[in-house]
């Protein structure tokens, strides 16, 4: 049993939880994730660890409320318990002084890009961050990201805040202006990562993406999380979650993510029905 120490609504549909998990907190490195299962009947879902506090023995997760599990998770209050938390899983992000690293985060992906930006900054990189959301109300971690970045650009799709347009447009401008970019980290919705990878490919700028396929065990035992990278089948939970964005088959990832759309709807409706009594 893992206790929820803190719960915070970051935006209309994004929630942050701080969870007591001392063993994981001590071991975790940036880029790793946990699999959690709320209760006996729950599903196992992967979530990236945004932050850890090894002294307090806690880890932080940030998630968008989209389906049954995230809805139920968001309903839990401070002091409630999560039945199972497994981690830290996956490889840690490769962190080194790469020169100029551009960290691009979209939507809830900002929660994942933030710890990477922080680690890169500590390693001596020149960190340029670009974060975005559909609209201002959905933007998260702006201040935190600003603190660890040498430069930050904020975008909204609808122009309600910051740069009016997609994060990719900002990166495009940087490339067009001939700015020196040694590495790009792109984390967010699959279409966003695909666009960014396509953008950097002709310029041969190494682009790392973090994938979030459906998982079950998270230990390499089932293959639910398989993706195609450079034409080879890889298991995201043990080979990833980060891969070279230029080699990922995003189309396949997208279809596999949509595999249970119907059932997910059904589960969510049932969950909403139960909540409303």
């Amino acid at each position: 049993m893992f206790k929820i120490i803190e719960r915070k609504q970051l935006s209309e549909n994004v929630v942050k939880n701080v969870i007591h998990a001392p063993d994981i907190a001590v071991r975790r490195k940036a880029g790793q994730f946990v699999i959690l299962m709320i209760n006996e009947k729950g599903e196992r879902i992967p979530l990236t660890i945004v932050d850890t506090d090894s002294k307090a023995g806690t880890l932080t997760i940030i998630y968008q409320v989209v389906g049954k599990t995230t809805t139920a998770l968001a309903d839990l209050k401070e002091g409630d318990y999560i039945l199972n938390v497994l981690g830290p899983l996956g490889h840690a992000t490769e962190i080194s002084n790469f020169g100029t690293a551009v960290c691009v985060g979209g939507g809830v992906g900002v929660g994942v890009i933030y710890p990477i930006a922080k680690a890169l900054r500590e390693a001596g990189c020149n960190v340029v961050s670009i974060i975005g959301a559909r609209t201002k109300a959905l933007l998260i971690l702006e201040e935190e990201t600003r603190r660890v970045s040498h430069k930050l650009t904020v975008c909204t799709d609808d122009g309600t805040y910051g740069f009016h347009g997609f994060v990719s447009a900002v990166l495009q401008q940087m490339i067009d202006a001939g700015e020196k970019i040694d590495r790009v980290y792109a984390i967010g919705p699959v279409p966003m990562m695909r666009v960014l990878a396509n953008l950097t490919r002709p310029h041969k700028i190494k682009t790392i993406v973090s994938l979030n396929p459906i998982m079950v065990d998270g230990t390499g035992m089932c293959g639910a999380c398989r993706v195609s990278v450079a034409g080879k089948t890889r298991f995201t939970c043990v080979d990833g979650p980060e891969f070279d964005g230029h080699e990922v088959d995003f189309g396949l990832l997208m279809t596999r993510l949509q595999m249970y759309t119907e059932q997910e709807k059904q589960a969510l409706e049932k969950c909403r029905g139960e909540r409303n009594g």
Binding site: G42, G87, G223, A267, K270
Partner: protein
């Protein structure tokens, strides 16, 4: 009665069948197929054993169960005694009685099998274990005095559970580290409910805990702690029972499309996560009208039967060897896949 006569009489009792759910009904539910011997049938079956002086069956048993001894106790009606006898060398008799391939082990070398059918050792083992569990009086075998030594076991699957049981009986302090949220390994995620009810696995795990084995779930060794860390923590030995590992895909075009599963994923969703009870349980599973399983071993049989129970109209097995080789594992048993409409 002279010796000859006695032997003749024994051979006349035919191998006793276990009652089972009829095929038509069982292919649409997840309840256990065979339902176990009654006390009378068990005693009748046990009486078939001729109590060989040099029993081949014991040599055929990987955990050295004194088979004639426990069979004799059943024949005499001392079912609790039989269970105690089993548990001296096997901590998981209710599981082994169900899923061990007896036809390839103890029963294969049973002398009665030379002329007719071997003694149904597996069914008797299952009977005794079930009898004890249902009685509610679970015996705890004697343990050697504490050695003061700690041993770590990685993985709470059949290997880890078995060795943990043996080590704890030898007086060691045993801790099992399991990555999943539940103990049992393949017994819990792989083998379906209709072949091995999960309540039985839970009961055997419980028994080990009563014996003194400590089990820590959600603990991925290698991630949370390395083997070196475990030694540094004071464990004197580490047993790695980490399982068969990653599923192997065949490298055929389209194998990563949605709706294509490794058996591990398909069975884990259904068994561990109880996707067959979706939406009561949250984990979904693809429901196909036409399901094709590639392979012909036990795992393929478990998968194809799961598909039938999930409502597939047509379930196919595609296998590179012959029909006989494919069904070999379960032939002649009440679990024979042929009876569920496979291999028409």
């Amino acid at each position: 009665m002279d010796k000859e006569e006695k032997k003749e009489k024994k051979e006349k009792i035919p191998r006793q069948k276990m009652p089972e759910q009829v095929a038509k009904v069982r292919v649409r539910n997840f309840d256990e197929v065979p339902q176990g011997y009654s006390a009378e049938t068990a005693m009748l079956e046990a009486k078939r054993c001729i109590m060989c002086k040099k029993p081949g069956c014991v040599a055929g048993c990987p955990v050295d169960i004194d088979i004639p001894a426990f069979v004799k106790l059943i024949a005499e009606g001392d079912f609790m005694g039989a269970a105690r006898q089993l548990k001296q060398t096997n901590s998981l008799p209710a599981v082994c009685g169900r899923v061990c391939p007896q036809e390839d082990q103890c029963e294969k070398v049973c002398i009665l099998g030379k002329k007719g059918d071997p003694v149904a050792i597996g069914r008797l083992e299952r009977f005794a274990a079930d009898f004890e569990r249902q009685s509610g009086h679970i015996s705890i075998p004697d343990k050697a005095p504490s050695t003061g030594k700690r041993i770590a076991v990685v993985g709470a699957g059949p290997a880890g559970l078995t060795i943990a049981g043996d080590l704890v009986k030898m007086g060691h302090a045993v801790t099992i580290f399991e990555a999943l949220h539940k103990s049992g390994g393949v017994l819990i995620y792989g083998i379906p409910e209709f072949r091995l009810p999960k309540a039985i696995v839970d009961a055997e795990v419980n028994f080990l805990e009563k014996l003194g084995v400590k089990i820590v779930t959600n603990f991925p060794v290698g991630r949370l702690k390395t083997v070196d860390d475990l030694f540094a923590d004071g464990f004197r030995a580490v047993f790695l029972g980490v399982g068969a590992g990653a599923p192997v895909f065949m490298n055929i075009p389209g194998e990563n499309f949605s709706g294509i599963y490794s058996a591990n994923e398909y069975l884990t969703r259904s068994n561990l996560m109880k996707a067959y009870a979706f939406p009561e349980y949250d984990t979904p599973i693809a429901l196909g009208k036409n399901v094709c399983v590639i392979g012909g071993g036990n795992v393929a049989m478990d998968s194809v039967r799961t598909a039938l129970r999930l409502g597939a109209e047509n379930a196919y097995i595609v296998y590179r060897r012959t029909e006989k080789a494919a069904s070999r594992w379960n032939s002649g048993s009440p679990m024979s896949p042929a009876e569920e409409g496979l291999f028409p």
